[in-house]
């Protein structure tokens, strides 16, 4: 089947990129002037035997290319190495942290796309009206705010001054997490019908996801707006009008469907930005996800973890782009995958 071949081909193309990523992160992690083995061994005067043992385990004394070889070899066997800060396999750590981040970023992305498109269309239709200016101003301000600052302000406002929303974390005190299916609490609790958890998790998602979606929202708004502006002048929109369609149909059926195509692309690219933002958002909202994991790792030069994280991020990115391409072919019949 054509589509499957296409996907397979795309995934094959993934490999060189990922190798590149590992090469990059590996270089970063092995040029640093820090005594990793000693740190791993527990600090200042950790007994020399331990340090030696760890150096040996981590092949720290061997030439870099060899070390890289070992790393790749482990990688192929699904082993990302040992996470110093948590004293457990990186893969385990990622398994724990990934769902939280996924839940947050996906929701944020959905919000950004949804609101972004609507406002984008509105400000395109009402170009240069005050609505247009206000929405754009708000959106652009959003993208101009340091995300951590925004987070702090929201926290102060809605968790402290007017405590209507929870401060941090994924679930309320004493709320039992739903049985693990995907690790996305909202999803799992829905499936398992654990409604207390569902309520709590949604409730806890609000502030972080708003914070995170803000930046992407503006970008999506912008692209939707400009592509709408372009499309409403096109011939086929004139045709649609000539048919006697009502303006709403013209805009939301004929124009929007076309405008979505560039929007989706941008959304895909924006996923990277979102992952970056997650690092900061999670730190402030104490969200137990990859972002906090990465920050801790970076601050302790826990490079196996950093490499693991970047690798995952890269995979997520590429997959996101793949999904975009697939959506593309759905939205635009002119795009044919696999040829």
């Amino acid at each position: 089947m054509k589509l499957r071949n296409y996907i397979i081909r795309r995934l094959a193309l993934l490999i060189p990129i990922l190798i590149g990523v590992t090469l990059l992160t590996f270089t970063i992690s092995h040029v640093i002037p820090a005594d990793v083995a000693r740190h791993f061994a527990g600090g200042a005067k950790a007994n020399p035997e331990t340090i030696a043992r760890i150096r040996e385990e981590m092949h720290l004394d061997e030439p870099l290319y060899k070390q890289y070889g070992y790393y790749l070899n482990d990688l192929i066997h699904g082993d990302l190495g040992e996470c110093y800060t948590e004293r457990r396999p990186v893969t385990e750590a990622i398994k724990q942290y990934l769902p939280a981040t996924a839940e947050l970023t996906i929701l944020a992305m959905v919000m950004a796309i949804f609101i972004g498109i609507i406002t984008g269309v509105v400000s395109a239709v009402k170009r240069n009206s005050w609505i247009d200016h206000v929405t754009r101003l708000i959106a652009i301000t959003g993208v101009s705010m340091p995300i951590f600052w925004l987070a702090l302000m929201l926290q102060l406002a809605f968790a402290y001054k007017y405590p209507i929303l929870p401060l941090d974390s994924r679930l309320g005190i004493g709320v039992v997490a739903p049985n693990h299916i995907t690790g996305l609490y909202v999803f799992d609790s829905l499936v398992t019908g654990n409604f207390t958890a569902l309520k709590s998790s949604i409730y806890h998602l609000i502030l972080p996801s708003i914070t995170l979606s803000f930046a992407s929202l503006a970008i999506i708004l912008r692209i939707t707006r400009s592509s709408m502006l372009e499309i409403v002048r096109s011939d086929y929109i004139r045709t649609a009008r000539a048919k006697g369609l009502r303006e709403r149909t013209v805009i939301y059926k004929h124009a929007l469907r076309n405008a979505l195509i560039p929007t989706i692309t941008v959304a895909g690219i924006n996923f990277a930005y979102l992952l970056g933002g997650a690092v900061l958002t999670e730190t402030i909202f104490n969200w137990p996800g990859m972002g906090r994991f990465a920050v801790a790792a970076v601050n302790n030069l826990d490079f196996p973890s950093v490499m693991g994280f970047t690798l995952i991020a890269a995979i997520v990115m590429v997959t996101a782009n793949l999904i975009v391409d697939l959506l593309y072919s759905v939205l635009d019949p002119r795009v044919r995958l696999g040829d």
């Binding site: 640093i32 002037p33 820090a34 005594d35 990793v36 000693r38 740190h39 527990g42 600090g43 200042a44 005067k45 950790a46 007994n47 331990t50 043992r53 948590e86 004293r87 457990r88 750590a93 724990q96 942290y97 702090l152 926290q155 968790a159 402290y160 405590p163 401060l167 941090d168 974390s169 005190i173 004493g174 730190t283 402030i284 909202f285 104490n286 137990p288 906090r292 994991f293 801790a296 970076v298 601050n299 302790n300 030069l301």
Partner: protein
């Protein structure tokens, strides 16, 4: 054994100490306290805040750092011990705010032979592990031997036992009697058994899960503690939360006021911890010094102040690439450039006391160093430097504008402030300095791998309540196993004094020796003794039963809410 061996053993011993002390101390992310003979005095009382108690059957603590390792044979940090002290129990323990008087734990009573070589413990009957199996003498023997065989490959905490015990020294007399056969009388045997490393594990349980291998960690035990303590580990989500639930088999029983759940949330962001404490989500919360004012007077929040035996100091590389650092005059001048009062008043907001030398207040022989100490005196500093020939050049700089490199671990605001302040003062006498923050591992690499640093920081917490634990580690030379912080400072006379002091039983005499050593240390400083921070504790007013015990920081079994 001869001096050399002693030196070796001590070296090892102290090394192991450092693993913990530096790891937690210098990261500054964890307040570390282990046994210290101090008591907490409740202070400020305020009108009660919101009366309706949040989650009445659960104790919630917002803390900074996650536990590292939940295997008592290898755990050596506060966060881990907080959990282990709830899950496991030791033969003996300390109670309330008294960290010195040894109380019965799993042993109901004990005795020691006159020569101090044989300790006999009579064990509590009818005690069950949380998995239902019975606690007997075998478990004690197994636990101690296990620690010694495993030899804590990760943390090195085994030294606490190995300094007086070796495999086979623990002997079962009958199911409820155990004897420790020591080679050499050891004064602080009982205190050493109080720390988590002395916890009693269930032999069958461990055997069922990996058993004991020499010098290797037990991956299962690292994550799945199971003991006779009042609580069981329900779940441990890294960097997120640790959930404890009551152990139904607990011999102490559950009549009276207790909570059946304990949640320890790991929250790096201080503002989050503050808000949580204020709105009552948290019953306890770690509050940085800078934020004490934020919660001090908050309704419904209670603050407790108490002395601690932690010290903060700066250590100086005497063999730095800045060759002038080798000159005592320069280091002396630096001591005069440090603003001790401002450190206490403005950086620690008054929650610290002056530190005259390596021995903190609350330790024996503290007074022997108390009369005089350095204070901020820039003129004197300038004088000293001029006298030593380090005069100001045409640009107005000493050392021809070569900067003194001050490093601290990123994220530790107190240390950032002290550095900036020192930099300011040095500048005033024409000495330029650069303040650099770096991650802890990088600092380690720099501290031990290179000499291109001049000043770094470290915190310290005791492993045993004796001046030796401090002064020897800081000021004895590397050759005899001191100089933990690699200042490359060495003084034969000081080494001699400190080693003698170790084995001198007459306290008065020891203080004499320490005094003499201190004179030398102060006159040719390798450290700037910054201050001795205080212990500050915050809790909701609906929490009752908390008492600060520097030895066992948390015993949730005694706390309740109403």
């Amino acid at each position: 054994m001869n001096k050399k061996d002693i030196g070796k053993t001590l070296a090892l011993l102290v090394m192991a100490t450092m693993v913990f002390a530096i790891f937690s101390g210098c990261i500054g992310e964890e307040k570390e306290e282990t046994p210290a003979p101090t008591t907490a005095a409740p202070t400020t009382e305020k009108p009660a805040g919101p009366t309706e108690v949040k989650n009445p059957d659960t104790m919630v603590r917002y803390t900074i750092g996650d536990a590292k390792n939940l295997d008592p044979a290898d755990a050596y940090d506060t966060a881990s011990s907080e959990v282990l002290f709830q899950v496991y129990e030791n033969l003996v323990t300390v109670k309330g705010s008294d960290a010195v008087t040894i109380e019965p734990g799993l042993a109901t009573d004990w005795s020691v032979s006159e020569d101090g070589l044989v300790w006999t413990f009579h064990l509590r009957k009818g005690v069950k592990f949380s998995n239902g199996s019975d606690f007997t003498a075998d478990d004690v023997v197994y636990s101690f031997d296990r620690v010694l065989t495993m030899n804590s490959p990760e943390s090195g905490c085994a030294w606490i036992l190995s300094q007086f015990l070796s495999v086979g020294d623990t002997v079962k007399v009958d199911d409820y009697t155990v004897e420790l056969h020591l080679e050499k009388s050891f004064g602080i045997t009982l205190p050493c058994l109080v720390y988590t490393v002395g916890a009693i594990v269930d032999s069958d349980y461990v055997e069922a899960h990996g058993g004991v291998q020499a010098d290797t960690e037990n991956e299962f035990m690292k994550a799945n503690p199971m003991g006779t303590g009042p609580y069981m580990l329900e779940s441990w989500t890294r960097k997120t939360e640790i959930k404890l639930v009551k152990n139904p088999n607990y011999w102490g029983g559950w009549e009276g006021k207790h909570v059946s759940n304990v949640i320890i949330k790991i929250v790096e962001e201080p503002s989050t911890r503050i808000l949580a404490l204020k709105n009552g989500d948290a019953d306890f919360a770690d509050i940085p010094t800078a934020n004490i004012v934020d919660v001090k007077d908050a309704p419904g929040v209670r603050m407790e102040l108490g002395p601690s035996v932690n010290v903060t100091m700066l250590h100086i590389q005497t063999k730095s690439e800045n060759t002038f650092m080798a000159d005592p005059a320069v280091r002396k001048a630096m001591c005069y450039c440090f603003d001790y009062d401002a450190t206490i008043k403005d950086i620690y907001n008054g929650y610290a006391i002056p530190l005259p030398g390596p021995i903190p207040k609350g330790f024996p022989c503290y007074e022997s160093q108390y009369e005089y100490r350095y204070s901020l005196d820039l003129d004197k500093a300038a004088e000293i430097l001029d006298a030593a020939g380090f005069t100001v050049n045409d640009d107005g700089y000493r050392f021809d504008g070569k900067p003194i490199a001050i490093y601290y671990n990123a994220g530790n605001e107190e240390r950032a402030k002290m550095s900036m302040m020192l930099q300011n003062n040095l500048a005033l006498i024409g000495v330029i300095s650069q303040v650099m923050a770096d991650s802890w591992p990088s600092l380690l690499g720099r501290m031990f791998g290179t000499t291109d640093w001049d000043v770094m920081y470290c915190g310290w917490a005791p492993d045993y309540i004796d001046p030796d634990n401090y002064i020897f580690s800081f000021n004895a030379s590397a050759d005899v196993g001191g100089d933990i912080y690699n200042t490359s400072w060495a003084n034969a006379r000081v080494d001699e004094l400190l080693i003698d002091a170790k084995f001198e039983s007459d306290l008065a005499k020891r203080c004499e020796m320490y005094r003499e050593a201190w004179e030398i240390i102060i006159d040719d400083p390798s450290h700037i003794w910054a201050c001795q921070p205080q212990h500050v504790h915050f809790e909701r007013e609906w929490v009752h039963g908390y008492e600060y015990n520097p030895c066992i920081l948390w015993s949730y079994y005694n706390y309740y809410k109403e």
